[in-house]
Symmetry: C2
Subunit: 525 residues, 2 copies
């Protein structure tokens, strides 16, 4: 084509043009239009250039959520450099390891992280400048960069140019910097905007951490649609509910535990959340009871997204219709699909491959692999790991799963600790929690065993505390006080000896389960 084609910053240019007077940023008392936002980004890019950020350099971001994060997401490529968003839960040695790996020349810290600077100083040879929104010693004041920085022309990074380096994992050994290109990000923005049905009058709340692609994938879609961004520094039930009300939030992304906290909050009724239209969740499946409560209490549509950093990130979506069908009862297939991650988004091909790279038929478990314009360019400085992950032209996610006949993707690793009994999902951890609440129980493991009537039956293996007594009937009766009947163990086995454990002390449930399933390997329907 010989022309810039996919360019992340183009969304800002367009928003300034077509939505110049509409809100870009809502944060506390601050209300900024897209025109103002674009002007700040151009000046911030100039300010960063002035302090030495050169095209191709990396700028690391260690920050809670806020408008500066959003501005950096656009100003850094505007200046021709690469963003490097960092996990906010890392310990200083982990931060230093990632900085040593990607060698950013500039580090941005917000007020929360400026307190960590003393632990980092002198150990980041690549970092020549630290920019901060806090008045910390030896840092550049963020707002001054914008005030003084000349507005510069967009460097026009695009297409296969790397937009940013996004680290996966946390520890030095496991952590890899995923290089995502402008094309990767823009295509994902299209899929999110399309699947998530974003509109230009939407107001999106950044509640989940902005460094994470689950939230930042929405970032680029929201800007592409010239919708509005609102922020809370970090998730917190009260702050989230307050933000829903005060910003008239229409969309957000939360992880299931956050949704659970919100829908079970006694505060819920005190806020006006009527503006909410849609919640996207990801990271893990959600208990149907929580889904139902969310649909009922928040009166909004639910989307589940599944993916990973390497795929920019969305691979599959479970739609609002899937949620409603599954919760509506009736159809067993629809209920089963509530446990799935949904189906592939447009232009992304998802395949279940065997270890030899051959595609497997429906319902056979293999590695979930994908190809498409959203697949990363590679791992920063790790050509071998890149070649391994992308062998055969497919991104190998490392997740095991299967696909049903209509393309719904089921992760078996996730499904593993769940029992489908009589068409109902039973989460083992929930039953184990109830058992552990009995004063006589020392150890408990719950899993499914074959059952003609129910498909799977809830089975518990229990070790009692020394000197304590409890009959199987009593333990089941105890569970009934805490759980719905279908979740209670149908059979309980009392053992005298401790349960088998891994080196790390985790109960080896697989070993306990195996004898029951011998000869009739558990199919995940």
């Amino acid at each position: 084509m010989g022309q810039a084609a996919f360019q992340i910053t183009r969304a800002v240019h367009r928003a300034a043009l077509v939505a110049g007077d509409r809100p870009a940023v809502l944060e506390g008392e601050v209300r900024r239009t897209w025109r103002a936002f674009a002007a700040r980004v151009a000046r911030l890019a100039g300010g960063l250039r002035r302090i030495g950020l050169a095209p191709g350099d990396r700028l690391a971001i260690l920050s809670l959520n806020g408008a500066p994060y959003l501005e950096l997401y656009y100003a850094v490529p505007w200046a021709g450099a690469l963003v490097m968003p960092m996990n906010i839960r890392l310990a200083p040695p982990e931060i230093l390891a990632q900085i040593a790996d990607a060698e950013p020349t500039v580090l941005f810290v917000d007020a929360a992280f400026s307190r960590m600077l003393p632990d980092l100083r002198g150990k980041m040879p690549s970092v020549r400048e630290v920019v901060s929104t806090a008045a910390a010693p030896d840092t550049r004041a963020y707002e001054s960069l914008i005030d003084e920085g000349p507005a510069i022309d967009d460097e026009g990074r695009s297409d296969d140019d790397v937009y940013g380096v996004f680290y996966t994992g946390g520890t030095t050994a496991a952590s890899k910097g995923v290089m995502l290109t402008h094309t990767n990000i823009v295509v994902n923005a299209y899929n999110v905007a399309l699947g998530f049905a974003l509109e230009d009058d939407d107001v999106y709340l950044h509640a989940a951490p902005m460094f994470h692609l689950a939230d930042s994938a929405n970032t680029f879609a929201v800007t592409m649609m010239s919708a509005a961004h609102a922020f809370i520094p970090a998730f917190d039930v009260a702050k989230t509910l307050e933000a829903f009300q005060s910003y008239r939030i229409t969309r957000t992304l939360l992880v299931p535990t956050m949704i659970n906290a919100v829908v079970n909050s006694p505060e819920l009724g005190r806020y006006d959340v009527s503006s909410l239209r849609t919640i996207l969740y990801g990271g893990s499946p959600m208990a149907p009871a929580v889904m139902a409560k969310a649909l009922d209490g928040l009166k909004c549509r639910l989307f589940q997204g599944y993916g990973m950093t390497e795929t920019a990130p969305v691979l599959t979506f479970l739609t609002p219709e899937d949620h409603v069908a599954g919760l509506g009862g009736g159809d067993e297939k629809a209920r089963e699909r509530l446990r799935s991650a949904g189906r592939p988004v447009p232009n992304v091909e998802v395949r279940i491959l065997d270890p030899g790279g051959r595609p497997l038929p429906p319902r056979e478990v293999g590695e979930i692999c994908a190809r498409g314009p959203n697949v990363m360019k590679g791992y920063w400085g790790k050509p071998e790991a890149t070649a391994e992950a992308l062998r055969g032209g497919f991104m190998h996610t490392g997740d095991l799963g299967f696909m049903d006949e209509e393309g719904y993707v089921f992760l078996v690793d996730r499904a593993k600790d769940m029992i489908v009994s009589g068409g109902e999902n039973v989460y083992c951890v929930e039953v184990e929690t109830a058992l552990y609440a009995h004063p006589a129980v020392l150890e408990a493991a719950v899993f499914g065993v074959p059952c003609e009537q129910l498909g799977e039956r809830v089975h518990a293996v229990v070790v009692l505390r020394p000197g304590q007594q409890a009959s199987c009937e009593e333990l089941v009766g105890h569970c009934r006080e805490h759980l719905g009947g279908y979740k209670c163990p149908k059979t309980v086995e009392l053992r005298a000896e401790p349960l088998p454990k891994s080196g790390a002390g985790k109960i080896l449930k697989r070993d306990l389960r195996a004898p029951f399933w011998k000869g009739q390997e558990r199919q995940i329907h």
Copy 2:
């Protein structure tokens, strides 16, 4: 990336997976699912390969609307070849000129065009096979190719590979083959799906000709969303209304003259058109009275799209909200914007440039230029024309216009001397060339004049050579021998005195045109 990224056929693979049992094709009694559609495409690709269509070859399509057109749009790239959809209104010499230019090896004709074969045979040295849905002599039977052709693997053409060659204009001189890539087409599909708010339960009617990118842009979006395609062979008021009712059509694309015919039809009340949600129109602006009638009579949302073949095609959209605001009265700005072409779609940058390539401020008239992932790779076999059209990295549309402060694009005149008549582009120079070929013609000027039915009517002003005679009828008949009917003058005016000319001797067509447009300035303002 090193992987296939944007691949048009991926939409078929995905639809077969996620919508395998849902309708792909509705045509008369035929109802085919996406699973069946994908299977036919794989076999058609195999059948085409078997008769010699090789990767990189072109396959020309001369056909009215129908399921075979849709199947070819996917089977041809599946086999690794390029589509070459041809204007259905061309005269044989024009067809032969385009075939000589792109040298397709296979030609597909439907029943309507198989009648033209005797005029073409022996004059298409590149064409080794003719495939037809009609039982015409020396042709391959289309259905037999599918029945007998082995299903083959998708060749996986993608990204910057050329998907097809789409001709603009008609004569050897004016006609250029626009090379559109897989990326171009897929990005436009995203913009149409997103802007047009396509959903997977939509049923789209192909009423406008499928060779034209106005309709085929929707084709790729509809398949990408796994929605359904319905067909009528060609536009006709009664057939369209009947199709709305019988297929429960939800979306379609029509040109303004077609919408005008539908909303003014006395038949309208006799059909159930309640399924209609949205009509996209393009080609030219629509009179507000017709818009109001469409909103009222069809109870659907209106979208206007503006673009050109070279931009795959959509550059701007005027949204349903823009239509409602403009027709709602009140705001003068909103009313003015009804005459605009709307605003740039995501990831497409539209600029108004002066002749030196410098961007102009709002409301100053210049050439409408664009860049983005939707811009063509170039013109087939015309590197100079390509370089000229894409100079400075921008596609130069040839249209003159301006942008207002909020990005609404107003066309003030086609920079090219072109008439839009009944939704078809007629290049004046082509018609003038035909007139000048008549021995009695001394001077000829062709331009559009207002016409209720067609929007614009092709009008010619002719001065005869001294001592020569020719009636208006004779001149029109002469044109018909060289040009498609829609290009021939509908009215001819013979003048005795020489036509007004500029100092450089150029006929001042503007002066000739002016009296016809007085009072109803077509100027967009």
